[in-house]
């Protein structure tokens, strides 16, 4: 609605009035509508359900059971959607566009995400603030997942909030959760509103070592995607600051050297590739395959094309050398599902099983 709040509200109310004529309850599917819920009920004498009016008390009750400190952090789901919000920085080329499209689709559906929590102050990336909370910096699911037990992960929707209102909305969410948690008997629960980092943020926290995610941590500049501006892809210096070159050893002893946009990956011969991935149970002529180079350069669309091209029952072997490859593959599977293709996936538990689960959760539309 281009920021025209009055027109938006009138449009919603008109739709609700019409809908209320032949239903028993009206569900307001977006948080931006929540402020209209009381007036709608009063006007139409119809019950309604919405978020966050229903969601916050429920989440608060669960917080109470969690007995942890909760820090609410918002991810703006409106334009521009930072490419790093779910999947890391989008690579150049068509794959990048595909990722951003998926991120937008995800945000379109669930909007904002609130993080998150913890009872491990020793692992707080910013100890100087002394908040005693494990603030999961950013909302890449891997962060939340890595935090382990004690983390509380709430998905919410705040697309309707204006940038200027987000700090207040953030505090409001925390207060709502806290109130609900206390009402549920969670006396030990303490909630606080965290900084809004996902859009317009200027720093984020990274470990000083790339060998693990444990501290010490340092603040690094991140691409400043300001609300109201078109999404800006980080240049190569920013990408290197966020994702420094590193070597990783994946299955089969392959390695990748990441330097800017260049990805060099020694490829196995098809027969070796298929044999390795299937423990010799499948032959190259009966399998479709997708190399990591293809997934890295073509993005989810390239992998999706492979998935859509196979016959029923034909195995598809997708090589994922790094975590980013897994993200691409998970996104591709979702794209395939969106086009009606059903598939069964398998990932090695030793190395990629956890990553597959995590990235599938992130890519779920």
């Amino acid at each position: 609605m281009g920021g025209d709040k009055a027109a938006h509200d009138e449009m919603v109310l008109a739709g609700a009035r019409e809908l209320a004529k032949d239903v028993e309850i009206v569900v307001l599917a977006q948080a931006s509508m929540s402020r209209l819920q009381p007036s709608l009920e009063e006007e139409s004498r119809h019950p309604s359900a919405g978020q966050p009016a229903d969601g916050h008390p429920d989440a608060g009750r669960r917080c109470a059971r969690c007995a942890a400190t909760v820090t609410a952090e918002l991810l703006d789901g409106r334009e521009p959607v930072p490419a790093g919000s779910l999947f890391g920085w989008a690579p150049a080329g068509p794959g990048g566009a595909g990722r951003v499209a998926l991120i937008r689709a995800e945000n379109e559906r669930t909007g904002t995400r609130i993080a998150v929590v913890g009872r491990r102050p020793d692992r707080h990336p910013d100890r100087r603030r002394g908040s005693g909370a494990h603030l999961v910096g950013g909302l890449r699911p891997q962060w939340a997942m890595d935090a382990g037990a004690g983390t509380f992960f709430v998905l919410t929707n705040t697309r309707g909030w204006q940038p200027s209102g987000r700090p207040r909305a953030n505090a409001e969410i925390a207060a709502n959760l806290e109130t609900a948690a206390k009402a549920a008997g969670g006396a030990r629960v303490r909630l606080s509103a965290g900084a809004i980092r996902r859009c317009g943020a200027t720093t984020r926290w990274r470990p000083t070592s790339t060998s693990g995610r444990r501290g010490p941590w340092r603040a690094v500049p991140r691409c400043a995607v300001q609300p109201g501006l078109p999404g800006r892809r980080p240049d190569h210096r920013q990408r290197r600051a966020l994702d420094p070159p590193r070597r990783g050893t994946g299955p089969g002893g392959q390695h990748r050297v990441r330097a800017g946009r260049d990805v060099r990956l020694p490829q196995l011969q098809p027969a070796e590739f298929v044999a390795e991935k299937t423990d010799g149970r499948s032959a190259p002529r009966t399998s479709a395959r997708c190399t990591s180079t293809r997934s890295a350069r073509g993005g989810p669309e390239a992998v999706r094309d492979v998935l859509l091209g196979v016959r029923g029952g034909q195995p598809v072997i997708v090589n994922a050398v790094e975590e980013q490859d897994l993200e691409v593959v998970c996104s591709a599977v979702q794209l395939g599902r969106a086009e009606g293709r059903r598939s069964c996936t398998a990932a090695g538990l030793r190395w990629s099983g956890a990553g597959w689960t995590r990235d599938s959760a992130a890519a779920e539309p």
Binding site: I25, V26, H56, M145, V154, L155, E364
Partner: protein, 78 residues
Amino acid sequence: MLLARPDLDAARKAVEVPIVKIDDAMATHAAANASRIGVLATVPTTLGPTADLIHAHAGELGRDVQVVRTSARGRSRP
């Protein structure tokens, strides 16, 4: 409860991270209190997942519900 989200459900089992979807309570409330439910959104892509979520919660509750999806710009499909 993460209905209609098998991947997230699997993730929760794998990592023991409590995950709450903020519209779960909304969907539960609607499914438990009405049999003909209207879903209203200004973004059409929100309608499908929300309707699916309501159906999933209704199934969990053993209720048979009918969901009417309506875009604030006009009725899409029942």
